[in-house]
């Protein structure tokens, strides 16, 4: 017997679904609509006047003669966002996989504690986390001090407000998302498979590359997506650790609703970002969601 009949289920689910639909679904649809409107003379939009300027101005700009000229400023920001996200994903994988493997090899009780330790930073304020890195990375900060005291580096470290600082911060922020899914797939892995590999003459490197890594692939893919996608939409880290000089997509979007006051362009950028994220999720769910079942 079901806990509740179908009829009652509908009413149980309705409040949450209607709430999210009204306050998130509708706004997203409206955003898509605003993105094809004409920009108002002093900010805002001209409702009812359609224009694809927002999408055109992503790559082109009009010069004084009203000719379209290629403008790569925005494209650069997109490329930078992709580049930083890719770099972050790779760094997170390099750090995350061994950690997940380490945790999976612990006794059951300790695993939970480690997993908890991995997740704690995720729940802390993102400003605070990035601020902590400012303390560490700035000139005269802790790392600078340490390097100077052991004589490796004298003078300023000059790393804060560079893309390096941004990628350190991004990796820090999204690292837990890499560890958790990889851990989940390693935890399920039958250790006898690895023993069988040893038994059949595989050394540790071979056991790792031929057995463990392939079986952890679904987790690695999930982790990569869970790191890459939120990274693409990062706002705070480039703002604080990049000092506002190294904008990513989110900062560009945000600025259209601040100083730039170009809502249609901001909406268009938002729509593109959203589309990329949803597309990535769609591809993932179609291609990889079934993998763990097939593998078992």
């Amino acid at each position: 017997m079901e806990i509740f009949t179908r009829h009652k289920r509908f009413w149980l689910v309705a409040p949450a679904v209607i709430y999210i639909g009204f306050f998130m679904g509708l706004p997203l649809v409206q955003m898509a609509y605003v993105s094809i409107l004409e920009r108002g003379a002093n900010g805002g939009v001209n409702w009812g006047s359609f224009s694809f300027d927002s999408y055109i101005s992503f790559i082109f700009e009009r010069d004084l003669m009203d000719n379209l000229m290629v403008n790569t400023d925005y494209l650069q920001i997109f490329l930078r966002s992709f580049g930083l996200s890719a770099l972050t994903t790779v760094l997170a994988l390099i750090l995350g996989f061994p950690t997940a493997f380490y945790i999976a090899m612990q006794p059951q009780k300790r695993r939970n504690m480690f997993i908890f330790l991995v997740t704690i930073p995720f729940w802390t304020n993102i400003l605070v986390r990035n601020y902590a890195w400012m303390l560490l990375l700035r000139n005269g900060g802790l790392i600078d001090h340490f390097l100077a005291s052991v004589g490796i580096q004298t003078g300023g470290l000059d790393i804060l407000y560079t893309p390096y600082a941004v990628s350190i911060g991004l990796t820090y922020t999204y690292l837990p998302f890499m560890v958790l899914p990889i851990y989940a797939s390693l935890e399920k892995l039958d250790h006898r498979l690895i023993e069988a590999a040893f038994d059949l003459g595989a050394n540790k490197r071979k056991a790792m590359t031929r057995i463990i890594l392939p079986l952890a692939t679904p987790g690695i893919v999930a982790g990569a997506i869970l790191v890459f996608i939120p990274c693409l939409g990062a706002y705070v880290t480039p703002e604080l650790l990049g000092g506002g000089k190294f904008m990513m997509i989110s900062n560009l979007i945000g600025s259209q609703f601040g100083a730039a006051r170009n809502w249609p362009f901001g909406s268009a950028l938002g729509f593109v970002l959203l589309a990329m994220v949803l597309l990535a999720m769609l591809v993932y769910s179609l291609k990889f969601k079934k993998l763990p079942e097939d593998a078992s």
Partner: protein
């Protein structure tokens, strides 16, 4: 995996050092921040002695307290609304299939998928168009949206882990649907509900991006206030207030985690 770690067969090169580096990387900034918040020096990064004076300075700051109060009002309101909606939704979704189930599930996780900045600007535009004044109310509405999935997931997990025969047993022993819910389902569910509520609470308390865009004058939240301070510069006050935020979050997550481990 279930292995004997004393067995050298299971020693893979580089795994342990990498894991140690990982946890150092994860916790070094947090520990440094906590330590420096007790530094008496005005120059925020050089240790000269222990002091709690920056905490007193921060806790005596009226602007800070006002923003903390705003944050609490927002977090409490959105947590309550989100938790109720999420509890109902979880009970509607648990077990038994219905048409449109996939769509409902997608809707419930949508707030987790949409990039924060997109949520922020879309909601901002929406509020401007439908005429919601930007302030505490607009932030509460927006926070509730992304709090729902955070509350939903642990509650749903609890329900899925519950033996469906328990409800049948209650019905079998003459409890009608409402009695079965009151006496069996709810008491078994409450750790999940409480855990979900606490997660919503921290997520709301910590949110910066969405509050920053959909808030207005007079609705400055603690993270927005901290952001303003960081913009001005690294100061011992920021250290202290950041450390406070950090501690609150960690305490709440730990409690949520412990509650969720309650098993009968």
């Amino acid at each position: 995996m279930k292995i004997d770690r004393a067995n050298p067969l299971w020693r893979f090169h580089g795994i342990t050092p990498m894991a140690i580096f990982f946890f150092a990387y994860l916790y070094l900034p947090i520990i440094v921040l906590l330590v420096l918040s007790f530094n008496e020096n005005r120059l925020a990064t050089i240790w000269t002695g222990f002091s709690t004076k920056w905490y007193s300075v921060v806790l005596g700051n009226d602007d800070m307290l006002r923003s903390a109060k705003n944050s609490l009002i927002i977090a409490l309101s959105s947590t309550i609304i989100a938790t109720i909606a999420a509890t109902l939704a979880a009970m509607g979704m648990a077990r038994g299939r219905f048409r449109g189930e996939g769509g409902v599930a997608a809707m419930l996780t949508l707030p987790l998928l949409v990039p924060e900045i997109v949520t922020a600007i879309a909601t901002l535009l929406f509020f401007i168009v439908i005429g919601v004044k930007l302030g505490l109310l607009s932030i509460i509405i927006a926070h509730t949206v992304f709090c729902i999935p955070f509350a939903y997931l642990p509650i749903r997990a609890r329900l899925d882990g519950m033996d469906p025969a328990l409800i049948e047993a209650a019905n079998d022993l003459y409890a009608n649907e409402w009695q079965a819910f009151k006496r069996i389902t709810f008491p078994l569910l409450w750790p999940g509900i409480l855990s979900g509520a606490m997660l919503s609470f921290i997520i709301s308390l910590d949110d910066f991006v969405i509050s920053y865009f959909v808030g207005g004058a007079g609705s400055t939240t603690l993270p927005i206030y901290i952001f303003g301070m960081i913009r001005i510069g690294i100061t011992p006050e920021v250290n202290a207030i950041s450390a406070l935020m950090l501690i609150i979050s960690i305490v709440f997550v730990s409690i949520s985690f412990l509650i969720d481990r309650v098993r009968y």
